[in-house]
Every structure is written in structure tokens, then in C-alpha cells.
Symmetry: none
Subunit: 191 residues, 2 copies
DNA sequence: TTACCTTGTGCGTTATAACGTACATATGAT
DNA sequence: ATCATATGTACGTTATAACGCACAAGGTAA
């Protein structure tokens, strides 16, 4: 009933598409009676039916939910520079651990500098966390902009790349390798 | 009943906060029985109750909905960090991923603030990377000092703790879990 | 040990989401 | 005008979300 703060955009979406309730009922598998009640706020749908609706429209769930707020600035931190000659400045933060299947690097790019990486082995996942500056990550063929304090996780089995903004960028780069199950229960190599 | 494939991250969020079902029930107004059923997928919540939960955690709704991110085309899985309150300031940088068995938090401690953590489950490894300030980490009964740009990796199945220096501290905190095989193959939610 | 508290889960009841069908109005065609 | 088809809403039933309470397992203290 009273869904207090939630604004559902179903009515807008449907109006934009110009489809009738009956038609939407067909393509979503949700009864038109329910669709009507949801539209006029008489019923609060479960996420399951909300998902059916989104799927029917081939929209992400967020397109139906009144997206409340995007999130905040995270202040950048000052990192003590570790100078390193080469095209990139790379420092190993956490060495590769076979039990975890993970390693972490600290990478610095100067202003407008870019770096491309070929596809890694399947099952490799990368995470990027921007420490300061602005960074763009090439993922799935498109450049995703990131600010300090923001992170991006993506599958690394496609070609990908990084390029810094006008004031350069520093970021952490985590690599996760798929863990063969038989490796999972060795004991840790940690101190 | 069948909540088909929707993955809700309530369990992860609650685990990250370290709160009990009863406690979450208090701060959200949702009965702990229902919270439990939602966590183990026995019930598909309405968006109204999902909203109550998100509001209780002071999180955006998207933080609870299974970021269908697994190859949803339009969804660039850029994780804006989401904060939730408590004794310390914690933001989710990379949400828990059952395939990786890893999650990353951004933690801030005010000046001289400390935080102790009980032993986690065996097989959990933590990594700490100091963004700014000075931090001491209690590991194996001794306090290890860390400066900005330094990292520490340790096994979390012993009691451990953090305390900031005079000017406070901010750090990334990665958790690596040993991978239970049954978590790895949840079905896709996509058509 | 005996209490005592807290954890999470199971059970029975109530509230309501979701369904199918029927209804009322609207538009268009004959 | 009547008929026909489509719109969205109202009704009655079923499935299930959500509740409060009670229970069993684990931990702590006296």
C-alpha cells in the first residue's frame, strides 16, 4: 500500500512506449490488473514481479525505480610517490598469493598518459580504485570515467586500457585469478 | 517461492556491518524472521520492505539489489562507494562477489580512534592499504605501524584491530574468503 | 554444572500481492 | 443509432509476504 518514498516509473515508461496494459501484461507475464494497481500506487510489487516487468521492457531494474541519489564525493588522498623509471610507475602493493589468487599494484600515470593492455586469460577479474586524479578505463570498447574514490570491476579477458586526465592519475589495480577448487584449501602463506 | 534468479545483497551488507538480525530488525522495522527469509532466498520482498531495509542502513536501494552487473549490457559496473554508519565510517567499494570471494571497503577512522574485530571464519584473509594518515594494525598480538601508501596482508581468523594516529586515517580493507564451491554457480538472471 | 543471554530459524496467523474474470467507459466502424 | 473492439478499473480467490512468538543451538558468566 503506502510505498512512502518510492517512486516507480512504470507509468512513465509505459506512457513513453505507448503500450496498453494488456500488451504489457503479455510481454511481462504480469497481469494487467496488477500492472494497473502498481501504476496508481495501490500495490507495492515484489522485486520478483518488478524484475519481470523490467525484463519485459528489456530495461535494467534501475529504470523502474526512482533512482534516489547518486553517491558522494570521496576525498582524494595524497600518496607518497615512489619514483620508478619506465612508461608506467608501478609498485607492487600485495604480491600474488596462490591461495587468494589475487595481487595488487599501485599505478601512476602522468597527465594524459595512457596504457593499453591485451586480453588476459579467461577468468581474470580486475578491479581499479582511483586514489587521485581522474582516470578513464577502456572496458568493453567504451571509456568509463572514474574520479578519485571510485572503483570499477571488470572482466579482464578482453583488451582494456587506462588513460589519465589532465592532472594525471594514481590508482590501485587488483587482479583476481579464477581459483581452481583444489587450490582453495591449502593453508595460507601468510606470516 | 521461486525468486528465480534475483540476488539480493542483504546478507553481504549485513555481514559487512557485523550486525545481528535482531539489531537490523530494530533499525529497519522489518521483522527478523522476514529478514532471515530474504537472506536465504525463501522470500521475495516487496520494494516497500526493501526500501525500509535500505533506509535503515542508510543505503541506496541499489546497494541491496543484486547488481545484475554480470553482463547486463547497459550497466557499467562502476561502483560508487556507498557509506553506512556505525562506530566507524565504512564505504563499500567493491561489493562481495561470490565468484571472486572478495570484497573491498573504504574505512575512515578519526584521530586516535580504534576498532577491534573478533576473529573471522577460518580462511579469511584481510588486506589493508593506507590511503592517508597513520594507522596501526593489531596482528598476531602486536601493533604494526603503517603510513600512507603502505599495505599489510594478514589472516583474519585471529582477533585483530585498527587504531588511527593523531591525524586520523583512511584505508582500503579487502576481505578474501575461501571459496565455497556452491556459491560459485548461481544461475543467471538474464534471459 | 546451572542459569542467562544472543544468535538464527521454524510455526501459525494475518495482511496483501497477484491472479483471472467481469465490468464500465471509450473509441471506431457499420 | 447498434455493434465491435480496446481501454483501464473493480471484484472474488489464491498464493505468499510479513508479522509475532516460540524454539534449539552456541556462547558467557556465575
Amino acid at each position: 500500500m503506502e510505498s512512502d518514498g518510492i517512486t516507480l516509473k512504470l507509468r512513465d515508461v509505459r506512457a513513453a512506449s505507448g503500450l496498453s496494459l494488456s500488451r504489457v501484461a503479455e510481454m511481462t507475464g504480469v497481469s494487467k490488473a496488477m500492472l494497473g494497481q502498481i501504476e496508481r500506487g495501490e500495490s507495492s510489487p515484489t522485486i520478483a514481479t518488478l524484475w519481470k516487468i523490467a525484463k519485459g521492457f528489456q530495461l535494467p531494474l534501475s529504470a523502474l525505480i526512482g533512482t534516489s541519489a547518486l553517491r558522494d564525493p570521496s576525498d582524494a588522498s595524497v600518496f607518497r610517490t615512489v619514483t620508478f623509471p619506465g612508461s608506467l610507475q608501478v609498485k607492487i602493493v600485495f604480491p600474488f598469493d596462490p591461495v587468494l589468487g589475487a595481487e595488487t599494484f599501485h599505478v601512476e600515470l602522468s597527465a594524459n598518459q595512457s596504457h593499453n593492455s591485451p586480453a588476459h586469460a579467461a577468468g581474470v577479474t580486475e578491479e581499479v580504485f582511483v586514489l587521485n586524479g581522474t582516470l578513464e578505463v577502456l572496458r568493453d570498447g567504451e571509456w568509463v570515467p572514474l574520479n578519485a574514490g571510485e572503483g570499477l570491476r571488470f572482466s579482464a579477458d578482453l583488451p582494456h586500457g587506462y588513460r589519465a586526465g589532465a592532472q594525471g592519475a594514481a590508482f590501485l589495480n587488483m587482479h583476481h585469478y579464477a581459483q581452481p577448487a583444489e587450490l582453495a584449501n591449502q593453508e595460507s602463506i601468510l606470516p
